[in-house]
């Protein structure tokens, strides 16, 4: 998520109602993967940032890739909102997230067209 999307989301948050229960901290999460024999193993660690917030009784948690405290705290706030009961606010945020997601998907789609253009096309020949 880029800075612009974060700023958009931030404007929707009821900043004064959200309390920071765990300020952002960096740490490592061990990436596990499953091999061709269904053995799970540790691939290596990933640097992440975690944060926790609370709105009334709803707790929010987030883990984001990299060293990104602002993204972590906003993600945690969104999580708290979705764990709460403010349906109106939830709907507003979902709309915003959908728009962000759409833009992101479009970008990913365009990028994926490049490798797609490297697909080897085998033309089937009629038999006999």
């Amino acid at each position: 998520m880029d800075d612009k999307s974060l700023a958009r989301l931030r404007r929707l948050l009821p900043l004064e109602e959200i309390s920071v229960t765990k300020a952002p901290e960096t740490g490592l999460i061990m990436m596990t993967a499953r091999d061709c024999y269904d053995t799970d193993f540790c691939l290596g660690e990933i640097l992440v940032t975690i944060a926790e917030t609370q709105i009334e009784n709803a707790k929010g948690y987030s883990m984001v890739l990299g060293d990104n405290p602002r993204k972590a705290i906003i993600s945690a706030s969104l999580d708290a909102i979705f764990n709460g009961n403010d349906a109106k606010l939830q709907a507003k945020i979902i709309r915003c997230l959908r728009a962000i997601d759409k833009r992101h998907k479009n970008q990913q789609r365009t990028e994926s067209l490049l490798p797609s253009s490297t697909r080897v096309q085998f033309d089937a020949m009629p038999e006999g």
């Binding site: 931030r10 900043l15 309390s19 920071v20 952002p24 640097l47 405290p69 705290i73």
Partner: protein, 295 residues
């Protein structure tokens, strides 16, 4: 804290990753190493495997000793770091500076003042007390590695206390050289059970392990092993009835600086004609002795 307040604080634009915690290691790492230290003390001379962490100095440069030091050190400790007996050896200085930077503890060169001493290849000449811990850096923890390359096999040998191959090795050595040819890293039996590598200390230092007042913790960072000799523990060098263990013989050489005749000496080649002088390998001891001589 409210979110608004947090978001408005510009210091939160900084990278979180730029901060180091007390004693560098994260708390989970310290807990693991601490657990393993306790097991090492409880089974003297047995090598406890541990998940050695990567340190900001290279493997083989004392990462094992450093991890032990950082796991046990607190703000009130006083640290001494030596390499080859010297406080001012480049690697010792580097390690001391690093620990000071991440803990703020004070450094000393005086053996008697230190609560923790991290060392490579020497045990100080001054006897240590119950209040002190000696941390030894170890390159090759497996005493049987010379005779058996496979870890699986050496584990078995330790498990069954099957040390016949080690004794045979020493015996063949005597046949070949009429002397045990091992210089440093002389194997010892700890608490009548495990044969242990005392790290590459000279034979001169072996007797300092026997029934010492202090705790010794050994750690090999690259090979990921921790072992220990508790205080007041039997530590005997391997020897035969007719071929006794012998320490280095300096043939009456005297330290050119302090005049000591009872210390481990560095041999210094003075010129191309091969003229030699000697000085104490333990520089802190030498400085104290020289001062005493002056007075």
């Amino acid at each position: 804290m409210h979110l608004k307040q947090w978001l408005n604080d510009e210091s939160h634009d900084d990278r979180l990753t730029a901060n180091y915690s007390f004693a560098f290691l994260d708390e989970g790492t310290k807990r693991e190493i601490r657990r393993k230290i306790l097991k090492a003390i409880a089974i003297p001379g047995y090598q406890v495997p541990f998940g050695s962490r990567e340190m900001p100095i290279a493997r083989g440069w004392g990462t094992g000793g450093l991890q032990i030091t950082l796991s046990i050190i607190g703000p009130r400790d006083i640290l001494k770091v030596i390499d080859q007996g010297a406080d001012d050896s480049v690697n010792a200085v580097n390690i001391g500076r690093f620990v000071n930077r991440v803990t703020g503890v004070s450094l000393t060169t005086d053996t008697a003042d230190a609560s923790i001493i991290q060392t490579r290849h020497r045990i100080p000449e001054e006897p240590l007390s119950e209040e002190q811990v000696l941390v030894l850096q170890v390159p090759i923890p497996e005493v049987l590695r010379t005779i058996e390359p496979s870890e699986k096999e050496t584990r078995r040998m330790h498990a069954e206390a099957d040390y016949s191959a080690m004794w045979l090795y020493l015996y063949e050595d005597i046949i070949k050289y009429r002397e045990i040819s091992i210089g440093s890293r002389y194997p010892v039996t700890v608490n009548h059970r495990y044969i242990m590598d005392p790290s590459p200390i000279p034979r001169w230092d072996i007797s300092k392990l026997q029934m010492a007042k202090n705790l010794f913790i050994f750690c090999a960072g690259r090979e990921k092993r921790i072992y220990a000799i508790p205080p007041y523990t039997e530590v005997r060098p391997l020897e035969f009835e007719d071929h006794k263990f012998r320490v280095e013989d300096f043939k009456g050489a005297v330290c050119s600086r302090c005049g000591s005749t009872n210390t481990y000496l560095d041999e210094i080649v003075e010129n191309e004609n091969g003229m030699r002088t000697y000085s104490c390998s333990d520089t802190a001891y030498c400085a104290k002795a020289a001062l005493r001589k002056q007075q």
